[in-house]
Symmetry: D2
Subunit: 342 residues, 4 copies
């Protein structure tokens, strides 16, 4: 931990900070700089010590800022596990050799619509079937999902086609219900910092698919994962799905692919990319899915609808079955290049 | 609703869109432009029609984008109520003539700490006492609040000093518990799109204090309010608390005061500004609180701690009791200028 | 052009706007909506008419906003030329079948350093040599480049190795000097809206390599290209180099690869990606260069330095010669997959 | 300066960095941390040492990042001058007791239009007259200004009414021409990092009004000021004019008023706020001008046009003469509250 003093901080103020540190039994290295002094603590602090010291010192007079030289996440970090985590769900491995495809419609709309979707997903060779039963919608007037009926359909269809299923859960109290039906719990971008939900998902014992919030930094993203992990659940899958930026006229979000190698370097968790939400435009899904693969992602999540024009949500970003199959074919041709199976 | 076709869209594609519109019994005005054609629908659509048409048309071939000429929120809009909403809680009015101060510590830490805080708040003439019992913390290793014990302390102290109380609720299932103790339910910035929570808060019958998400647009913010309002709860208070931007070195967030006149123009709901989170720096709270007042806000929420250096959370942005009283004095001097009482 | 009126605009205000339009000899389609009225102009306006009408109407009472249904750029648009532009410089084509590599150091530091760099670039099979003679540096205390001496070195070394050269020009009055030495004029991200420079570059007759500004929208980017094109210079090369976002801790910028398919759809100009500035991290250049290729870019610009540790600028993002050669090998293996030669 | 090593950096890598530091005759404090080691340099480095060391170390193996404990600007800093700079132009002081108003149209359109504007500015009691002769326009098809004819009109009218004049200069080679006519040189937001222009403006001997770039951090902003100051010109006036953010539907930019107290703390230069560009909406200029005053700004720049509906540029944000006079009256009533004269 390093404390940077304000310009013109008095010697007494510097000394006061150093004394707080020394009173904890730690060493304080006072480093005069150009105009401002820094104070380093050359020691490995545990979480309690860090929180405690930071809260106390940051409110002291003459202190400009307290910075950490280490990252705030532990269990999510590459230091914690040099070995990359492989999340196993039924016969599917996420983060292993195979490049994983999660496909399906935005919402489960009916048994028929979902079976049609599953048939295409199965035909493509993909192994994971997505579909929303509870839909987080910006407007209360938009379609909100079929709720438990949607979960039932998802489970039935998943079983029929032998596909692993994934669906979103929007609140902590719904975790037991959703966990009863789905193989993987998805936590949506807008819920990334829904802490009670993260804790319940952590307790569920189910793999958790965590989408990055639209303005979440990497630290905030990995700390959200840390909430799940700290409940004793090691199976967190990270998902980049586009961030909020200043130009929404051509794409809905900015897909931040540079985060893929960064997450791979700083964390041991698998990383999936969602080019459907990441661009919001069906015709840009193909190039961005390929870009995700070569940037080092472990898989992609792609929206597909048997008939996008009749989709009850997100029709403009869903692929038709033909486009979906064609994109997957493209990815299969590319997979050997990155030493991935598909 | 206006549909803009892609460049080079064929006449057949334009015609297909026009036919979808006409088949709903609506008129379609085809407007050729430079390179691209637009199609207008000169009619008042209800929500179902809008959702339906937008989903269907946006997935059609040749369509570039579908734009709405009206705002997506209804109950939150100024059209819905020309008269500004005054939220009444006990003897306090929010959105009326009086400029409202909500003060108190980030977290309820103990009976003693909270009573000290309340004494200062009362002394300042402020009417609303804030304090967190359940704390949304970025890191699972940070102090998480006293939970129900904190709520009990808050209620006891609020009653003792005759102050209206406000505290955050983080999930829908906790609404009944929190509503039992607190006068106003706060929905934090990170929960702004926690839709199950918004719905439960709407059902609670308690006034709801809704903080803007760090990257939420005005439309998204007012649609979140719409979730609460659409449950039959008219008492929503909007709060600007800073947005996420590209420079976090000097202030934690960017306080977007330009949103205040915009919210006042497009919505009838009261608007509060939180300069503590909006800047993250105790010494910038004073100028930003004053700026909030003259920009047209109905009040401010300010963090104050009897001893910021010992605060268990957010110490660097909390005012000392002396600073808090002095800022309130400053605001009182300024109030007549904006024709506000305090 | 579509005019959206404010909520509650009076009929007289609507009529006033319609009359302004009709007085120009144009048709005005009045479309009542939910709460607000829109007015469409079903005609192809020329630039003067658009500018004129927009300025006049946007200041009228009761008007909320004026939106364009067509894009504001013309010569840069795909409508202007269905055929993709191939920029030819000596024996090199940019935007043709070959995937183009532009490599070299951030700055020309000495003849020796630049010759070493050119040797590696040549060895890799790349065809374009980059190097800065005039350096735009955030701080006046950073190395500012060798100026004309740098240009001379660049030309000499380019001729020696048979490489096309590219270098940045920072102001309009320097264009003649730089054009005397360099094959391609680079306009840096911070100069994207330096309009006098864009005009002079347009007049120079040299191909212009235009980097996207760090917070430039696609419209702003293509309008900057339009400045060059409107001088009669058809040879503009667009470059995505990362945008400014909220997390600068792990990467310097966010590389916006989703812009590649969007630029390809809306413009006919070639698109290059710069993963060096786009990430600011040498070890992320490889995955992002590959991602750029599969996302549809026509080439990449990569910083390489014979000895990054001794670089006078941007050492942390420059590749060593070994890494550079290895990345190019990787791209060559990938090229057939996207039907590109290298 | 503090160097943070990568997780898992070897002892040899740490030692190598420490040796580079020691070889410069400096002390290296090695601080082991949780998972990663930091190395502090307890000394006041001059600029050459900093640049040199940072470039060298940031490219070494095992190094994660190099951070500075002091700010990169010197002459612009509060440390350099505890006393706030007062810029004197003719009989006007900027940064002194008086709150300064800069008013006038976006563009000088004709002698008649500019005289009408000046008459209103004079009548209001404002002292500085603005007007663009060379206009930086996003589109090459928009009105580009009257050029030298505009400068002549501005000078003539300024002299006639006894007003100080300010106008934008867009490139270094135009500085002598513009300096011949105008009292203050304005550098626009899009030119904030036009370094040749900053240098020429620094050499001109004229006060320089520097607008913050739309995505410039405070460090970048003050380093741009540093370019001017380092030419021996102490008269730089800083201007906040709104930053680029994610919601452009209601306001054109986000006015970042929190920067005002931050600039006042870290720099000694005067600070002006431009609520016209900061919001882009004429009816939001009044509240934001008042907010600027109470947040500690030294003045405001406000666009006014004798007839906004006929303005050739930026009509939607210009005030009418009546509104302008009324806003100034409002500010005059508020001035005593912040102990300012007007």
């Amino acid at each position: 931990m390093i404390i940077v003093m304000q310009v013109g901080a008095s010697e007494a103020q510097v000394e006061a900070v150093a004394n707080v540190i020394r009173n904890k039994g730690l060493e304080a290295l006072v480093m005069p700089g150009e105009g401002r002094t820094a104070i380093g603590i050359p020691a490995s602090l545990n979480n309690d010590q860090r929180t405690d010291l930071e809260a106390q010192i940051s409110a002291m007079e003459g202190v400009s800022r307290v910075t950490q030289t280490s990252h705030p996440y532990k269990l999510a970090s590459r230091e914690y596990s040099k070995e990359s985590r492989v999340v196993k769900v039924k016969n599917v491995e996420i983060g292993g050799d195979a490049f994983v495809i999660m496909g399906g419609p935005c919402s489960v709309e009916s048994l028929e619509q979902f079976r049609s979707s599953a048939r295409v997903v199965k035909e493509s060779g993909a192994t994971i079937l997505r579909g929303g039963a509870f839909k987080p919608r910006t407007s209360p007037y938009s379609f909100q999902g079929l709720a438990e009926e949607g979960l039932r359909i998802m489970k039935e269809v998943g079983d029929e086609f032998g596909l692993v299923t994934i669906t979103e859960v929007m609140s902590g109290d719904m975790v037991p219900l959703v966990a009863q039906y789905a193989d993987i719990l998805q936590i949506g971008a807008r819920s990334m910092q829904n802490f009670p939900l993260l804790i319940e998902a952590g307790k569920s014992g189910k793999p958790v698919f965590l989408k990055r919030g639209p303005s979440a930094t990497i630290d905030e993203f990995l700390l959200a994962a840390e909430y799940v992990l700290s409940q004793g659940n090691p199976d967190v899958i990270l998902c980049e799905r586009g961030i909020t930026a200043f130009d929404r006229q051509y794409t809905r979000n900015v897909l931040d692919l540079g985060i893929v190698p960064a997450l791979k370097e700083y964390s041991h968790l698998p990383v999936i990319v969602d080019p459907s939400h990441g661009t919001g435009i069906a015709r840009y899904v193909r190039p961005m899915a390929k870009a995700a693969m070569v940037s080092g992602a472990d898989g992609v999540m792609i929206e597909m609808h048997p008939n996008p024009k009749e989709a009850l949500s997100d029709g403009s970003q869903a692929l038709t079955p033909e486009m979906f199959l064609s994109v997957i074919e493209d990815l299969k041709r590319l997979a050997p290049y990155v030493s991935r199976t598909m």
